[in-house]
Symmetry: C2
Subunit: 133 residues, 2 copies
DNA sequence: TCAATATTAGGAATTATTCCTATTTTTAGA
DNA sequence: TCTAAAAATAGGAATAATTCCTAATATTGA
């Protein structure tokens, strides 16, 4: 939580750049595998540390789901996710802006100060549905 | 995923009974510590396995959050949670039924069949706010 | 009562993530 | 440009949560 002055790092830049090419919210491990193509001796610890830093400064967001590794999303603007309970994939969902507004900041009866909210829809993705029909 | 015929087990009953006494969505470890008072030689693996079974049959729900152990909630009726980003506590939130309806089942544009949704509000709980003011 | 099958305790194994340390890189200022 | 302080790194060890394994036990329906 201390204010730390960031120094530039090509590892961090590469991680963020890679993340921005992807729409599927990759895990730290996937990011590691891919960034390694450019920086062969990058370490997984470095990936995790930089993802934490980027999350802290609000450049990206971390998504946690039941039963799988954390995923990282380069889009911090409000949006929702859809997660397949069968294969674990996570997709962005373009919901009606009105809907976003309606859930964005609620009224009262909260046991604290609300700073944000996360909505995740879950179900079966089309790929998995095709597979069992 | 196979259909398995459940046999009764006092361990499972005790786990569910304990969970129903709590409103704070305890972790497997907390459940273990408490059920151990009645069944001293119960094992943590048994706790995890039964929580998984109970989740699978829809008796309880499992809640996953960033950076902490999974938590278990004996209430499966639709409701929302509030999580303190400072201390990690998870509270139930009684939201307006209209609000619940409004988020309950959305329209279209989803990459699959929606079976449910989870909304988590996050922020700073009152206890933590008091502490820093 | 018996046999089939689910469940258990206990502990080993796995997985994701964090932490540690010596070294390297970046940065701001002289 | 040179230098010293601070941040960042690689590599690997350590940790924490959870799952898996196995032999023994409990439950069930016939």
């Amino acid at each position: 939580m201390e204010a730390v002055k960031l120094k530039k790092s090509k590892q961090r830049d590469a991680i963020l750049a890679f993340l921005k090419t992807r729409k599927d919210h990759p895990t730290a491990d996937t990011i590691y595998d891919n960034v390694k193509k450019d920086i062969p001796n990058i370490s997984l610890g470095t990936v995790y540390r930089n993802l934490a830093v980027l999350t802290e400064i609000g450049e990206i967001q971390k998504l946690s789901f039941d039963g799988s590794s954390d995923r990282y999303d380069p889009v911090t603007a409000p949006h929702c996710h859809f997660r397949c309970r069968n294969c674990g994939s996570v997709y962005d969902v373009d919901v009606d802006p009105d809907f976003l507004n309606s859930i964005s900041l609620p009224k009262e009866g909260f046991p604290g100060q609300v700073e944000g909210q996360i909505t995740v829809f879950y179900g079966t993705c089309e790929k998995c549905m095709d597979q069992y029909s």
